[in-house]
């Protein structure tokens, strides 16, 4: 069924958007880059369509093509675009301008840069209203305030006269959404609107999108690399790969039973928070990288990486054809009726053996870190960021402890404290029986090789001017683990092989590697010194889901082979649940709850844990949306730190609840543990 067939089936309603065989190229010096190559889909009035795919698959270029907002050297070279039946490609610039921001609006990915820093929020909101002549200035002002309030911004009358830098990322994204809805558009295109935000804020924004769709009947095209996000808003989804749509179907069906091997890999690369955990924690990951857009393979574009390919795939390019009622897929194998195996991150049955009860490798008591800020002026009061406010933790040998919490809750500071990159303000840190909280740098140096860190941004943490061979050799030589020459070369080769890289690549530079490969290199660097403890601060956040799966699998492997102990920091709760034995939930630099992973997710004791888990986008799950954002870290919290946002806060919460063991191995800092009608995920 093609787009035009579908239109004939329902002649009475003109779809909002019809895209047929859209082709967009970048005319680069190296040749035309076919960024969008024959994309077709239709969005009916009030419908929701998601577009998912890995980085570089052409999602953003598709969106910009729809808005006709492409910039040099991009050019639409073929296809048809119709908006409410009108041909977008035949429109004059002024006709297009009249549509943009009026009937069709777009919200971009990065709310931090999308608002003009020198213009008040009010003007940025009202200019499309008055610019398109729909409202007079006083009306526009009233409407802007109304919309902001509708988007969940407190005291909108005052907020409108602020400047963007006075808003947090979440608030700015609300402003961007309000801007999108300024003139009640028929279509809203949102390109990764929540990617830069915390799960809790993401949940608020997605909720808002859903409500706005229901209330105003605005059709929504939501672009994301996260199928979960799309599933929680969009009924249908188009999966993109190398500039093509490879599958289009109702989101729930794709999640349940994907019909294209790439979609299958996407679905199975991510651990699902709503599925039982198995003994085998390996995730599905596909090797290789998307094809070079300058030299696309002649047959199926996914063939070089496809685990299901047959002989025909490399010769003939498959069309997007119906594989089931209402389901399109671009695959010879599934079109022939073959079913893709049910497999996934969650293996089957049995829990992982808990690490043997041993003396903890790392033990933290009453850890505090305050960062004094420079005074604003000589007379201004001294200001202090209270990053970590008394944390107790124990990490056993061979165990993986996950640290979760919203941004700014002190996760990274904690990582830097236990590795003594920062010196704590107070408290004790014991590493393998040795007190290191106030040890001198000289006393810590021998311990350094036993605890290593892996950072979020693999590119920033590798020296761009050093070959990876030198990068890996440096710590070996510095700590006298290998002598220069053959011995070092041999060790470096081994390390590369350990993390799944070709040892022949030693003389390459970091920029010659992909993001995932770079993260493997930083893991190899951490492993060079044969550490016992690896502290990984958001090691997979900057990576595509498939590469995330590769890195997670690698970390699991290495742990089994080398008996590593991990302190794993992440904001993705499903990943934490998947990888970790225990989890500690941080809020404002304090532990709210700490428990074995499975139990914590199945039945959270602390209200904050419950709302965090509930914020994870899982299609078809009702959630409690946590309002507001964490309070400022400039003032030390009194009483229960969570009480300003806690749904069940009571007067007694003004006395601070101690972190107490409520059940065996389950600690929570709440006066009413387990009382909040939670949204935990059943095991």
């Amino acid at each position: 069924m093609t787009a035009s067939d579908r239109r004939e089936a329902k002649p009475e309603a003109v779809p909002v958007l019809e895209v047929e065989d859209l082709r967009t190229v970048f005319l680069t010096d190296a040749g035309p880059v076919r960024a969008v190559d024959g994309v077709s889909f239709t969005v009916g009035a009030g419908e929701t369509l998601g577009i998912v795919g890995e980085s570089g698959s052409g999602k953003s270029v598709t969106a910009l093509s729809l808005m006709r907002l492409l910039e040099e050297p991009a050019r639409i070279v073929g296809g048809r675009l119709r908006f409410q039946g009108r041909d977008l490609l035949a429109m004059r610039p002024d006709e297009l301008r009249a549509l943009r921001g009026d009937r069709m609006a777009m919200v971009f990915q990065d709310p931090m840069t999308g608002l003009n820093p020198v213009i008040r929020i009010l003007r940025q909101l009202t200019e499309p209203m008055t610019g398109h002549g729909r409202f007079t200035p006083p009306e526009a002002r009233r409407r802007a305030i109304g919309l902001l309030g509708r988007m969940g911004i407190t005291a909108p009358e005052r907020s409108v006269s602020r400047f963007p830098h006075e808003f947090s990322g979440g608030m700015r994204q609300r402003v961007m959404l309000a801007m999108g809805f300024a003139n009640d558009p028929a279509l809203l295109i949102a390109d990764e609107p929540t990617t830069a935000l915390d799960v809790t804020i993401q949940a608020q924004i997605l909720d808002l999108l859903r409500q706005l769709n229901a209330e105003f009947g605005t059709a929504i095209v939501l672009i994301s690399h996260d199928l979960g996000v799309i599933g929680s808003v969009c009924r249908r989804v188009a999966v993109m790969y190398a500039g093509e749509v490879v599958e289009e179907a109702p989101t729930a069906e794709v999640l349940e039973d994907p019909r294209h091997p790439y979609a299958w890999a996407l679905v199975n690369a991510v651990p699902r928070i709503d599925q039982p955990l198995g003994a085998d924690r390996r995730l599905v990951s596909i090797e290789g990288a998307p094809p070079d857009a300058l030299a696309l393979p002649p047959g199926c574009r996914f063939a070089p990486r496809c685990p299901f390919k047959v002989e025909r795939c490399e010769r003939e390019h498959p069309p997007l054809a119906e594989v089931a009622p209402g389901r399109l897929a671009r695959c010879w194998v599934t079109q022939a009726g073959q079913v893709l195996p049910k497999s996934g991150g969650a293996g089957f049955g049995g829990a992982r053996p808990a690490p043997a009860a041993a003396e903890p490798l790392l033990s933290v008591r009453g850890l505090v870190k305050h960062f004094p800020l420079p005074r604003e002026s000589f007379f201004a009061p001294k200001r202090v960021v209270h990053a970590v406010n008394g944390i107790d933790l124990d990490l056993k040998r061979g165990e993986t402890l996950g640290i979760v919490g919203e941004s700014g809750c002190g996760k990274s500071t904690l990582a830097r404290l236990v590795t003594r990159i920062h010196a704590p303000t107070a408290g004790s840190i014991t590493f393998d029986g040795q007190e290191i909280a106030s040890a001198s740098p000289a006393a810590i140096r021998p311990l350094r090789r036993r605890m290593q860190m892996v950072f979020q941004d693999p590119y920033a943490s590798l020296n761009p001017r050093m070959t990876i061979g030198d990068t890996l050799a440096e710590p070996l030589v510095a700590h006298g683990l290998a002598r220069r020459g053959a011995e070092v070369r041999e060790r470096v080769g081994e390390l590369l092989a350990t993390v799944g890289l070709n040892p022949a690549w030693v003389s390459r530079f970091p920029h010659e590697f992909s993001g995932g490969q770079r993260q493997r290199i930083s893991i190899a660097r951490a492993l060079a010194l044969q550490p016992e403890l690896v502290v990984a601060d958001e090691p997979i956040s900057a990576l595509d889901v498939n590469i995330q799966a590769q890195i997670l699998n690698l970390m699991l492997d290495l742990q089994q082979r080398m008996g590593l102990t991990y302190l794993f920091i992440a904001h993705d709760l499903a990943v934490v649940r998947h990888l970790c034995d225990r989890v500690a939930v941080l809020y404002l630099g304090q532990v709210m709850e700490s428990a074995p992973a499975e139990a914590l997710f199945a039945r959270p004791l602390h209200p904050y844990t419950a709302v965090l888990i509930s914020a994870v986008p899982v299609p078809g799950r009702t959630r409690v949306v946590l309002q507001g954002e964490p309070p400022s870290t400039l003032v030390l919290p009194t009483g229960c730190p969570f009480r300003t946002r806690c749904p069940i806060a009571r007067p007694v919460c003004e006395t601070p609840p101690p972190l107490a063991e409520h059940e065996a191995g389950r600690w929570a800092a709440c006066h009413f543990p387990g009382e909040f009608g939670h949204a935990g995920v059943a095991a």
């Binding site: 301008r97 943009r100 840069t113 608002l115």
Partner: protein, 336 residues
């Protein structure tokens, strides 16, 4: 805001005094003796005359004491007496400064009103002929030596085409207006003397263009670069996605952001124009500070040099302060 202002002003005062110390030390270590420059060979060969002259100007005192005397005078608003003109330095400066202020202000305004629009046009129509023209103009402005440019302008428009008046602030036969501010443009308006006003304006044109040339080039390039940077920002794409007109997007979203770096440059450029008008003033016989500086330096006239240094550094610091204050106006992120 007020507190910041006061702290900054106090800081500026300290900096200005420090600048005089530096100049004082430099001026006293340059080879050359004011005695020779002032008394002439004959008188300088008589030790008694020289000693008397040195004592009169305090040159026989130790260095620190001379600096202390200078500072004490400064505290009382006295900059000493010029060796060459035998008049109070402050009076000299007050006499010469208005001509320079008038010339450099006009030159500065000229640089702004040509440089900024040219830079905007060059960025908006990047790589088109407009951009090419702007590039050539700024290249000529920045690279032609002031001295040479001044002569060429005079030769072409005064000597050759005879459409511009000759050197000086006014025609030799014209009467200067009654002095109120010393700025002829202002004083003639105050006096309602339109004929002299026209004369003053026409005398300003050539020197102002010459003086502004380099600044026009700098401002054009800076504006263009800042505009291009701002045009690439996400909020510009957002404005287009909102369906705003292109002209509106450029003027309301791009320009205010692009002006922030231009203001920094503008402040420095203005201070430089004030201090660096020597060449232009010499060629156009402009009775300004530039020429006074030149004369004082040639005569090793210490009190005059010190006075000029002080005035110039105070001006620099004040202009910088103004630049910082206008940041707060342009950029809400630095407002407190």
């Amino acid at each position: 805001m007020l507190r910041t202002l006061v702290t900054r002003l106090a800081g500026a005062a300290v900096m200005a005094v420090l600048a005089t110390l530096v100049i004082f030390l430099i001026a006293n270590t340059v080879p050359g003796d004011p005695v020779l420059a002032q008394l002439g060979d004959l008188a300088a060969s008589n030790p008694a005359t020289v000693a008397e002259w040195r004592a009169k100007w305090g040159l026989d005192l130790p260095l620190w004491e001379r600096y202390f005397i200078f500072l004490r005078g400064l505290a009382h608003g006295d900059l000493g007496t010029s060796i060459a003109s035998q008049r109070p330095v402050l009076e000299d400066i007050a006499q010469y400064a208005p001509a320079t202020v008038e010339l450099s202000t006009i030159a500065f305004l000229l640089a702004l009103v040509t440089g900024i629009p040219l830079g905007i046009a060059a960025a908006v129509w990047r790589d088109s002929w407009v951009d090419a023209v702007a590039r050539v103009i700024s290249l000529i402005g920045v690279s032609s030596p002031t001295f040479w440019l001044a002569f060429v302008m005079l030769a072409v428009f005064y000597g050759g085409l005879q459409i511009a008046p000759g050197p000086g602030r006014l025609d030799p036969i014209a009467f200067p207006p009654d002095e109120v501010t010393g700025l002829f443009l202002v004083d003639t308006i105050l006096a309602g003397d339109w004929e002299t006003f026209h004369d003053a304006v026409s005398h300003l044109v050539l020197p102002a263009i010459v003086l502004a040339a380099a600044t026009i080039g700098l401002i054009t390039r800076t504006t263009r670069a800042a505009m291009l940077e701002a045009i690439g920002q996400d909020y510009v794409r957002v404005s287009r996605a909102k369906g705003m007109r292109e002209g509106y997007t450029i003027l309301r979203h791009v320009l205010p952001n692009a002006l922030i770096p231009v203001v920094t440059l503008g402040g420095l450029a203005y201070a430089n124009l004030l201090a660096g008008a020597v060449m232009t003033e010499t060629v156009f016989s402009w009775p300004g500070l530039g020429r006074y500086t030149f004369r004082s330096a040639a005569a090793l006239d210490f009190p005059a040099i010190m006075g000029i240094t002080l005035v110039v550094s105070v001006t620099y610091l004040l202009v910088n302060l103004l630049v910082d204050l206008s940041y707060a106006l342009l950029d809400p992120r630095v407002r407190r």
